[in-house]
């Protein structure tokens, strides 16, 4: 069941992405700047509000389908994760296959959330391929299920530690998408710099507390299993580096000369660190070598 849901999710993501690409192409070709990609807010116009709401223009049908398909993909992935949990008897967070599906879920769910909130579908042009890549990667390595080694047998901490990390990683994917659009030299059809900066910031605001919590919970777990809250294990250190980079971004936003482009560059760096931390399981060794890959 889990696999069927996963395949359905992949198809949804592919179709959603196709819709977004078509909608975006329509915007660029048709020159209707806000058609579809930037949905107008339903501006309730009581009083004489000085800021005019974005005028509502004809919404591209592809864009609407894209959004619906994205929701569908989130639904299928949620189902895949639930079936997986039932099948394995623990949170779907114990090896690289499960991490990848969960990461993709986080990226899609956070994207869907930010799309709803900011009505900017162009973010999907970046976020969806990332989610798709993670899903294909998961399918590529296969859904083999190994029982849990003793250190991982802490259902509560395993579930919470990784679930919290997934929210953080998902938010950082959105921040990355937004930063990449910010730095894009082609501006036609893309949201304004100001709006992209705001979206990046808001997604880091969501992700940062969760990353902090991930690290703290990791420390609690390390203390329980290995008797030391911090051992400079490579995965620990890499997540600290990620935390520091996003921390510097939060400070950079209020330092003159660091706003805008440089802050966006820090977000690219931050996402690189996120991926490095994430894939670190494969080559770090150390205490987090639970990838379930390459072990005899």
């Amino acid at each position: 069941m889990s696999e069927y849901s996963l395949v359905a999710a992949v198809l949804s993501v592919v179709l959603a992405l196709a819709c977004y690409v078509l909608a975006f192409a329509a915007v660029r070709v048709g020159g209707r700047q806000r058609a579809g990609m930037a949905l107008s807010r339903a501006g309730a116009g009581g009083g004489t509000v000085t800021e005019t709401a974005t005028p509502r223009q004809g919404t591209n049908a592809f864009a609407t389908y894209g959004t619906l398909l994205t929701y569908l993909a989130v639904g299928f992935l949620t189902a895949a994760l639930i079936f997986r949990t039932i099948y394995t008897g623990h949170g779907p967070f114990a090896n690289m296959y499960e991490f990848s599906v969960a990461f993709a879920w986080g990226a899609l769910a956070m994207y869907a959330y930010f799309e709803r909130r900011y009505r900017q579908r162009s973010l999907g042009l970046i976020a969806l391929p990332i989610a798709l890549a993670l899903l294909l990667y998961a399918i590529g390595i296969g859904a083999e299920n190994h029982p849990l080694v003793p250190a991982l047998q802490n259902n509560l901490l395993l579930t919470v530690h990784v679930a919290v990390a997934i929210v953080a990683y998902g938010s950082f994917t959105v921040a990355f998408a937004s930063a990449l659009l910010f730095l894009s030299p082609w501006r036609r059809g893309l949201p304004s710099h100001e709006l992209l900066d705001e979206i990046s910031y808001k997604s880091v605001v969501v992700g940062y507390p969760f990353l902090t919590l991930t690290i703290v919970l990791g420390a609690v777990w390390a203390q329980t299993a290995w008797g030391s809250y911090w051992t400079w294990d490579p995965k620990e250190t890499a997540s600290l580096v990620t935390w520091l980079i996003y921390g510097s971004y939060l400070h950079a936003r209020v330092v003159r000369g660091w706003r805008g482009e440089r802050a966006a560059l820090l977000l690219l760096l931050g996402f690189a660190a996120t991926l490095f931390t994430y894939f670190g399981n494969l080559f770090f060794g150390g205490l987090h070598s639970y990838s379930g890959l390459g072990n005899p």
Partner: protein, 491 residues
């Protein structure tokens, strides 16, 4: 962090900076002190220091790090370094000289941590009075140009008088959870309103930053007063002193390791009994995620292996040693396991040697152990080396050595960290502080109501540019106010 841009200014002249908060640097008369203060309260400084720390962290992730304590042993360290040479080539020496192989104890790391801590403390001291003022004595009146320029602004025509409209505005704001107060006196005839919520939210930054100091204190206290022994091997049936002045001794009643059908481990557990001065004080079965904790000392399941139950008797037949000897070392070729017996009173050290598990040893057959006895003072050659068959004593240097039976040993990590309380306090404050500042942002709004040709005119303004959440809340607020203000109050 979520505050609007504010160029750091020297605050030493501020009267609201209490004497105790003012720090020596701030009231220092010297220009150097001023410059240092300016340096440390600058966000740019903090930013660069954070990035520098990230770079060090990256080095620590990418380069193999020397095991803790290895650098104390010159010989072992250079051997460890030599093993790395094929990997890093000519860079090995450079990296070593720069301290990159123990980056987290290097002078770079310590220096940056000290600078960053100073910066964090300075910023907190610098910002706290400002935040306090904003929360307790907010600016309640804004200029005309604020209402004209703010992106979150509205002008609403009200039916009632300015005073009536002001109270409607306050009711609408209060309904959305705002605290409202009358604005400072403006021009005659106009009424001002100030409203805010989550005014303590910005203190999350101070809490989060100071929590990092708490974590640092925890690390320092732990380093100074704690201990950690990662290699306490206890043979089943034996009792071993914990040491470190704890007065504790731990006995392993049993050890068991179990496996899944695919051969991967499923569980390791040890039944431990803890004694203090000969009296039992605790007993528990420990597992990988279930340590035994007693009086600030914790025992963790870490590793395991084979042990040999040994008995040593003196020429009179008196037992001088009877314990399980954990075979904790491995021979260089990995084919034999070695354990040590210290016979201090006899001036001897004996090594018990067995075949590693799965190895067929031509000398040491199943049911046998080899014993090598040395004079404790001399390293050189053993005074005797013999094979022992189970339960058959051999005599060396007048002592009878008996290999009684094979056993297992359980390997424990024993740790005590009095600094941990600061770590957990700091962690809780860190998460709480960050959540506070991000999820409870300070919202402020001002209103100015002046008499109009018909009724009065309400000007509303707020700060929160490109903040979609607040923008939509503000818009709803304006809608609600517009409805409430349209009706003349039924007096």
């Amino acid at each position: 962090m979520s505050q609007s841009v504010r160029t750091p200014t020297l605050r030493r002249a501020e009267p609201d900076l209490g004497d105790d908060l003012g720090s020596g640097l701030a009231i220092s008369p010297t220009a150097l002190g001023e410059r240092l203060w300016r340096f440390f309260i600058s966000m740019q400084t903090g930013l660069v220091l954070i990035l520098a720390l990230a770079v060090l962290g990256l080095i620590g992730t990418l380069l193999v790090q020397a095991p803790a304590g290895l650098s104390a042993d010159q010989q072992a360290y250079s051997a460890w370094l030599d093993a790395l040479r094929p990997k890093y080539g000519g860079w090995t020496g450079v990296f070593d000289a720069l301290g990159f192989f123990s980056i987290f104890t290097s002078v770079w790391f310590k220096g940056i941590v000290v600078l960053l801590t100073t910066s964090i403390l300075s910023c907190s001291v610098n910002r706290a009075p400002h935040l306090w003022k904003q929360a307790v004595h907010p600016r309640t009146r804004m200029s005309e140009s604020f209402y004209e320029r703010t992106p979150l602004g509205a002008t609403i025509d009200a039916a009632g008088t300015a005073e009536e409209a002001a109270s409607e505005v306050r009711v609408a704001l209060a309904a959305r959870g705002f605290r409202t107060m009358r604005g400072a006196d403006a021009e005659a005839g106009t009424v001002g309103v100030y409203a805010d919520k989550n005014r303590w939210g910005p203190f999350g930054t101070v809490i989060a930053h100071l929590s990092l100091v708490s974590i640092l204190i925890g690390a320092l206290v732990g380093g100074a007063t704690g201990f950690r022994n990662e290699n306490l091997a206890v043979a089943v049936g034996s009792t071993v002193d914990v040491g470190y002045g704890t007065g504790l001794a731990v006995n392993a009643k049993s050890f068991s390791d179990s496996y899944y059908t695919d051969g991967s481990p499923s569980d390791y557990s040890s039944e431990l009994v803890l004694y203090r001065d000969g009296k039992q004080v605790a007993a528990q079965t420990i597992r990988v995620n279930e340590p035994l904790r007693y009086g600030g000392v914790s025992f963790y399941q870490s590793f395991f292996g084979a042990a040999a139950a040994m008995k040593v008797t003196d020429p009179q037949g008196k037992v001088v040693f009877q314990q399980g000897v954990p075979l904790v070392w491995s021979s260089n070729d990995g084919k034999r396991r070695v354990g040590q017996v210290d016979l201090t009173d006899q001036g001897l050290t004996a090594y018990v040697i067995g075949a590693a598990s799965g190895e067929v040893d031509p000398e040491i057959r199943p049911g046998q152990m080899m014993i090598e006895v040395y004079r404790s003072a001399s390293q050189g050659t053993p005074i005797a080396s013999q094979i022992m068959t189970q339960a058959q004593p051999v005599t060396i240097a007048g002592l009878g050595f008996t290999f009684e039976r094979e056993r297992q040993f359980t390997g424990l990590i024993v740790a005590s960290d009095p600094g941990a309380v600061f770590i957990w306090l700091g962690s809780a404050l860190l998460v709480g502080g960050i959540a506070l500042v991000f999820f409870f942002p300070h919202r402020r709004a001002w209103a100015r109501i002046r008499p109009g040709t018909r009724g009065s005119i309400v000007q509303l303004g707020a700060v929160g540019r490109h903040d979609v959440t607040f923008e939509s809340e503000f818009r709803r607020l304006v809608d609600e106010m517009a409805i409430a203000l349209a009706e003349p109050p039924t007096a």
